[in-house]
Symmetry: D2
Subunit: 471 residues, 4 copies
């Protein structure tokens, strides 16, 4: 099948699959993967993205509009939340990557107009070709106590090793790149502020996944297809994480968005951080509602809805869910508009929600486990539901009240285990915690963006020092 | 001085003071108080309300509009938050009481039009005479395991003991009535749902504080005026709490808003609860910003701003403050409009903020104490700042960095101690916790108002049971 | 090979393996397992128990003494903790089961001497034949709002369906039986107090795993042997959980320890609960030290040991570990001695440790994840360490400081992921939470055993009511 | 009355009072206090210490033995806990001070034998004269970012300004000295490690409170005697905190325990810290039991003992109390014995208990408040119980169940308010938090004393790296 790239229209799922057979160099467990679309460990992710393309085909105009343009009103912004939160991960990464680029693009419009233009052109290209991008930020970092220029191995942070009139050559590695192996574009940005003297590490650019020199090592929380029935959640949501190695990768100038201008080096990470975090909050808000629902379904399935401590634990999850959603609502309602008319969510509300949601997730899962009980782990296996002899035992001994069959309850436990107490559950918890930076980073950003001067003034007024402090 | 009651204008502070010399029967520590405006234990509260009247005089129209009318837009609602949060407590209680009455009034418009009309008339009366009202809800309750009609003493819940063509006679007591002794009107509502057979306890009405039969026993977190310098916070914010006894109190029919219609008995407490809680959240949001400011001022005064654990504790308070404000913003942004055009804050966001703010307040004060250190308690006394010999010692030994004098730092500690670790601090913590119901009540209301059906549906979709559960 | 059963000596690992080929009816995923010792999903557990036999062979006398006798001094008790905590799970279950039986045996010595004697004989038998037992307690339970006798299906709780001069016949199912499929003996006890009229459900007995009528459905957190390298923890500790079905299982009288005497029905669960919980605490104390060590190893491997927030998170885990161990020490130091000279750990300290350890585990894992970072999930796979090309990339990009190789760091992440964020990690968290009852159960038991009368007396003295309360 | 100082016997309360009329220079609120034994703000403290003397008179030998000698067995140590925890604060400060001195004395025995001997002589003197000592450690500190020698004002840390053959002259101030104004001896030690070049600040000595040059500014959580009835707790436990100024205070050599030997400068604070913290833990363990008792009394007085959320909150306090006591038990059980035969509690268990107890206290008080309700604040005043009219109202409206009178319940609320939500309550919370260092200090010490090397080894074994790490 011919790939309809470079045409102004939305891909189909099949076209997306075809587009991945492009010579990309993807490894799984030490083996080069011949075709990611058929490999059992990548299929879950490929299928979910393909489905995303197919689902959006009928309303492609609106989709593309939303995926590839900057929100220009609070309503726009609210609409983007659905894309950031949705189950198709590369839509979120595409949106986050391109919004981050455009946010910095605006900041550079006056002093570095060439980058501003290239970013605009690149976004237009992605829109025209309906490409899926991934943010590519975290460097290998080597010795954390040393700056990029002090490392034994200068590649510990991705850098420019050559430059000529055609473009630049970059080298290094980027870690934890969700979806890299099954997306189209790597949007490369510096992991942190670079200082004068570290120009070669101040680089941002966009690189197609199949570029010569790119190698991706993968891990994967998705189940093998033989285990789909036991993994009702991860069979639909699991997506590979890649360690992306750049070995002498050439990038033409028109895909270079920063090259040595250290003054802007931190802006990319900052912009991406904000969009990643609001995306994370949008997802957490939806996931928290799902946790409430699961807790209630578990309580009902176990026949425990009238027990006070069970009701109390469900109420704790309700509070968790409502707090996160309140912050999301507030971050949207209190959005700021840039000179260019870009609408950007409130940073403080975004960050505290990300912090709270991550920090308390474990306590909520503990509530889920306490409501569900040990059968989350020990509900008999899918094969036991096939064999009539064992199925009869499951039905007899796993049922509770008249309207809760043993089979239904067993399957409910599969979902809870898969989401909260198995491979994908572990991946989810760690990913939720680390996306957009760990707890310490969230605290730092929250504090930095909080209006401390106003708070001090309010405190002085409150304690009666209305004229300011009398030292 | 002549009291200008019954004229359509705003009182002055002096007129307010005069209006309190109305024969009201107020006790302090077993002694009948001759004049609350001059008694040392009531002066703080009286002064704060008088100041409130004087401050609002220049813009009386807008004030009255806000205090005595229902918000009809999101902007209206946001504006009310300033009144609910402000330092003048009886503005909040007036607003909360009248909004609660009007909320129920609308609900009764069809089936009990007489009450709907009386409430409207009463609100107009309060507006015309610029009166301050207090909500009067919590009954003595007697044995909590028994309902009102089962109590040994039927007065354990306030009730109607007589009724004739002129009005009703009520008896009982209401507890924890902040500001009762220095306000004008007691807005009486049932403390909870009454059942069929409990008609005599299903009573709501408005009663002037100086009505025959009203006796108020008081406690008071405000300092005696000799201690004002040591109490820079409570000298401005302390207000008496009253145990209000109703002994054969006559209420004319036009001030009766419920009398036996048990079907509406719970509506008042529910409506008041919502307005009390959003008021509580508005105050907590402002107080939390003050706590951040105080923490920062303490860190600066102690010269500890660069210590990591100090910064971390300040960040914790920042997160606390931002979470509460986010919920407040969300409760306003997601407000609902009733048929009558009344705009009412979102209940779930309001409740979870009230829960979170109350539940975490102690941890925040612990942070403040950990930042401030023992000198919060042991900073020398105001008299030590008067005596030149001791003042010199205070200045020498309480100072830290060049720009932090010992006198300033000592006074800062007064404010922190007064707000967080002294009589008013204890009052504040318990009041914050209990206003609008304790933690358990907040949880119940949050859970009741949360859309559980939607959460279950989201959970079913998430786990792949899109068609609904297959039991 | 001939199985040396019924001889007074310790088995070898090979003899243990042989003893499992006894016709037991074990299912995995709907398939009857021919030989648990060779099946890939049971091998991990079998190997760990076999190793336990072999390790203890040289010092068999002491081992047997400890495993099969009641502690009679505080030192004895302390020594048992090593067995309860050790990695060989069926030693803990054997010890817990037999201690629970003996605890109740003593209680029944006077009124039900036949059971007291049978229990003593059974313990001697287990000791003589070096058998591994599992506690078999949790019933299917059906509708939780109904008692055993009210269930639609009377088998929802295991019960006696026949009795004659030779013995009894039991029917029902027991859930969450760790190690059932690879142990020798099922020690059956009632899951809760039975009331008069529920005599048929008040049954305790011991049943060999290969008894006719026993069927075991299994789940398993252990990895398949192909994945051993990626699961350095679970490859050694994973053990199957069984849903054990009893279908017309005959039990001779000399293995019946309760049959209808409802007065003692709750004693078994109570006794087992205590021993399970102290075992759980002993394990948690050791595991918590391991968590501290892992946190420190992660911080060192990431080169982050001087960062304040990292040090703070490690300190949090130190506190967690020290609190649990302090409670364990106190539970031993404050042990009680029964009339028969049995030494039993302090119940209050045991329960609060179990509660605290379970409740805070999630927060500690969050700390571990925050210290370790996303590479816990995304460290390249074992196959990537085999292929020289990818191994070079791993070594280049996963290393940090000079003395931390990329290979070492990658393998460290395997352990952390396996223990905290993968299948076994989920199993561990839920098992830790639920073993000995969930959080609510721990709270109930802690409160029940706490000396409330003394606390009230202390409070009265403290508030100056030394003569007792003056109501 | 003649003071029987210098005789080998126990003082009476009257002798103690007489001993305070010794010319000491004590200020209250800028006023020089003529006689601390009759001043209304010091009487509570003086009375409590006098009562302590009288109570111990009959068994003076044992008392003195315990107060003035080092524990030499675990039983000895356990016995000391009663003294450290008791309500007579200066017994704790005496014991802590002298134990700290003796701990360091032993460490200096070889290299600084003169100090070792002087400390022994001083302890014997205190024992002979039955003196009460206070620890005097925290310096004014000035600019925290600078060391003692860098301060603008060298007196920011107490220092030696002169030395001759008779003794030394010291200058500076010490803060937060509980009981200073009503004790006999100030045991002065350095607040932290001094470096080479800071010899003049490395000073420890003992100074009588009435020494020329000593001035004490006081604050006080104790109530004025007119308010005793409303403060049933603080009327017995309140004790003044002093800012103790040393202005050219002469100290003879035989009372100097360190003078310039910077190598030992940190040992004093370390030793005192340990004894302060174990003392703090002993008190917190007893206080926590009192909190449980109060919670239960409140629940009973409110008639709420069967409500699930109330029971749950009481259980939370039970867990808190049992955790602290478990740590105390473990700290004693795992005590270490020095070469000199001194028995010293386990540092790790001591510190984590201090941390946990302080960190969670606020949450426990929140539980108390949530159980008690708003009447903690609003229960009518003592005068209302005197006036028959108001007393009748209190009795009618504050009673709950048949056996809970309104008067009893009102008085119970006084105690709870006084302890948890009033002046003394604030003092208690901040003091509990800060004694022995704030939370950060506790964490640092816990981590420093925890056996990290063992934990790492356990972790390596656990993950299968039994031979040690393979970097």
């Amino acid at each position: 099948m011919k790939v309809r790239f470079e045409k102004d229209m939305t891909m189909t799922g099949e076209e997306y699959r075809a587009s991945l057979r492009d010579g990309r160099r993807v490894f799984h467990n030490g083996q080069l993967v011949d075709d990611v679309t058929t490999h059992p460990r990548f299929r879950v992710g490929v299928d979910s993205i393909a489905k995303g393309y197919d689902d959006s085909a009928p309303n492609c105009a609106g989709e593309s509009e939303a995926l590839y343009s900057f929100p220009r009103s609070v309503d726009d912004l609210r609409q983007r939340m659905a894309l950031l939160s949705g189950w198709e991960v590369t839509r979120a990464t595409t949106l986050e990557s391109l919004l981050a680029l455009q946010t910095v693009g605006e900041q550079m419009a006056v002093s570095e107009p060439q980058y501003h233009q290239r970013i605009a052109d690149y976004v237009a290209f992605c829109r025209r070709t309906d490409r899926r991008c991934v943010q590519t930020i975290t460097d290998a970092k080597g010795d954390r106590s040393k700056s990029p220029s002090e490392q034994d191995d200068p590649d510990a942070y991705l850098r420019v090793i050559e430059e000529d009139e055609r473009g630049i050559v970059i080298q290094g590695a980027k870690l934890h790149i969700s979806g890299a192996a099954i997306a189209h574009e790597l949007v490369v940005i510096p992991t942190k502020r670079m200082k004068v003297g570290e120009e070669q590490w101040a680089v941002s650019c966009a690189v197609p996944v199949n570029s010569p020199g790119i190698t991706i090592l993968n891990t994967n929380p998705a189940p093998d297809e033989r285990d789909f029935e036991y993994h009702p959640v991860s069979r639909r949501f699991g997506i590979p994480d890649g360690l992306v190695v750049f070995d002498h990768v050439f990038v033409p100038h028109d895909r270079v968005f920063l090259c040595g201008e250290v003054a802007f080096s931190a802006s990319f990470a900052h912009a991406l951080g904000l969009w990643q975090r609001i995306g994370g909050v949008a997802r957490m808000a939806d996931e928290a509602d799902v946790l409430v629902g699961l807790a209630q379904l578990l309580a009902e399935a176990n026949g425990l809805t009238s027990m006070h401590h069970i009701r109390d634990k469900i109420a704790d999850i309700v509070i968790y869910a409502a707090m996160i959603r309140a912050c999301l609502e507030a971050a949207i309602a209190a959005a700021e508009t840039t000179e260019a008319g870009f609408v950007i969510p409130n940073e403080v509300y975004t960050n505290v929600a990300k912090y709270y949601g991550s920090a308390e997730l474990g306590a909520m899962l503990r509530n889920i486990h306490d409501i569900g009980g040990g059968a989350i782990l020990t509900a008999p296996l899918p094969g036991d539901l096939q064999n009539p002899e064992t199925r009869a035992l499951v039905d007899k001994y796993m049922r509770t009240t008249t309207d809760v069959s043993g089979i239904y309850r067993t399957k409910l436990f599969y979902s809870v285990r898969d989401l909260t107490a198995d491979t994908y559950g572990g991946w989810w918890q760690v990913s939720s915690l680390m996306s957009g930076g760990g707890l310490h980073a969230q605290k730092l950003v929250a504090r930095k963006n909080y209006d401390m001067a106003r708070a001090k003034q309010q405190a002085l007024i409150f304690i009666g020092e209305e004229e300011g402090r009398a030292t």
